[in-house]
């Protein structure tokens, strides 16, 4: 078991829920913020969603049964909060929006190069949930088993979803590069 998980369990088993919660904040805040920021784009909105996520974690910490890792459980809550935020605030139901990448690119937390921006632009063409799965697999390098627990989706469905996403993204990135090249040639 990972040291952070052990620390959380140790406090939790002692009935010290505050300490367990604080250990979750210390060990998982950054990873959850990354996940949320990639989905939401705007860093202030991401901070709000992160806070809502931790409110949910605190409210439900006593109900956690240990069926999964702590990080899997918190990822699940954060994913749902991010998706709900997209639906509620950005009114996005099934597809992503270029504004997410625009906002992410403008964020002071974003340090990616042009290739990465092109990848995010390609991700904009995916449905929000498919984008979430792709990001967990590609960026966070989570195994299918864990993504399956987070999303409540079978591994078979995830594999199909991920590879559909890869295929789509490759196509979009190629088109994006062609467009960029033609723009550069036009400028010359």
């Amino acid at each position: 078991m990972h040291a952070n998980e052990q620390l959380i369990w140790s406090a939790y088993n002692d009935g010290n829920f505050e300490k367990a919660f604080e250990a979750i904040v210390d060990s998982q805040q950054e990873q959850l913020l990354r996940l949320i920021l990639r989905m939401v784009g705007d860093q202030d909105e991401a901070m709000d969603v992160l806070q809502e996520t931790f409110i949910k974690i605190w409210k439900n910490i006593k109900k956690f049964k240990g069926d999964s890792k702590w990080s899997t459980w918190t990822y699940r809550i954060a994913s749902n909060e991010a998706l709900m935020h997209l639906r509620k605030v950005k009114r996005m139901n099934t597809t992503s929006d270029p504004i997410v990448t625009d906002q992410l690119e403008a964020s002071s937390y974003f340090d990616g190069d042009e290739a990465l921006v092109a990848l995010y632009r390609a991700l904009d063409t995916l449905p929000a949930k498919q984008r979430l799965v792709f990001q967990m697999k590609y960026f966070d390098e989570l195994p299918y088993t864990e993504i399956s627990q987070i999303t409540g989706t079978s591994e078979g469905a995830l594999k199909a979803s991920y590879h559909h996403a890869v295929k789509k993204i490759e196509k979009e990135v190629v088109q994006f590069k062609l467009l960029e090249d033609s723009n550069i040639k036009g400028e010359l």
Partner: protein
């Protein structure tokens, strides 16, 4: 140092935010749960109904406005943006372990059984090649 996703969050921001997040344990959750909200609303409605019957035993007739309101599905009203419920009032986790995102199967239009049969024995490369062939 930024990671694979190109996101670089300064450690001082994380440290400061961690202090704020840890304060969550010191306060009661600010959102009223849907269950409590419904219970309270139902109790108030029952008291008002009894009071009205007691005060005006023969004068109560169905109010068109109430009839119209009761015919509207609260979820439809919420989806239409007519009612701005707090998130928790609409989606309260009954159990965190039970909480799931919507199934992806709807988007890719296949069943678990079919997928498991087709994909579980294939490697990532095989699936990739298949999809790109």
């Amino acid at each position: 140092m930024s990671q694979k996703d190109g996101i670089k969050i300064p450690s001082d921001i994380l440290a400061k935010n961690a202090l704020e997040l840890k304060k969550i344990t010191q306060s009661e959750p600010r959102v009223i749960s849907l269950q409590k909200w419904i219970s309270t609303a139902a109790a108030v409605a029952a008291v008002i109904a009894v009071a009205l019957v007691y005060i005006f035993p023969s004068e109560i007739t169905p109010d068109p406005i109430i009839e119209q309101l009761s015919s509207v599905d609260p979820v439809d009203a919420y989806d239409a943006g007519l009612v701005d419920f707090e998130l928790d009032m609409v989606l309260e986790y009954s159990s965190p372990d039970d909480f799931e995102v919507d199934n992806l199967e709807e988007e890719i239009d296949v069943t678990d059984e079919e997928l498991n049969q087709l994909l579980d024995e294939l490697s990532d490369d095989e699936i990739y090649n298949y999809l790109n062939s």
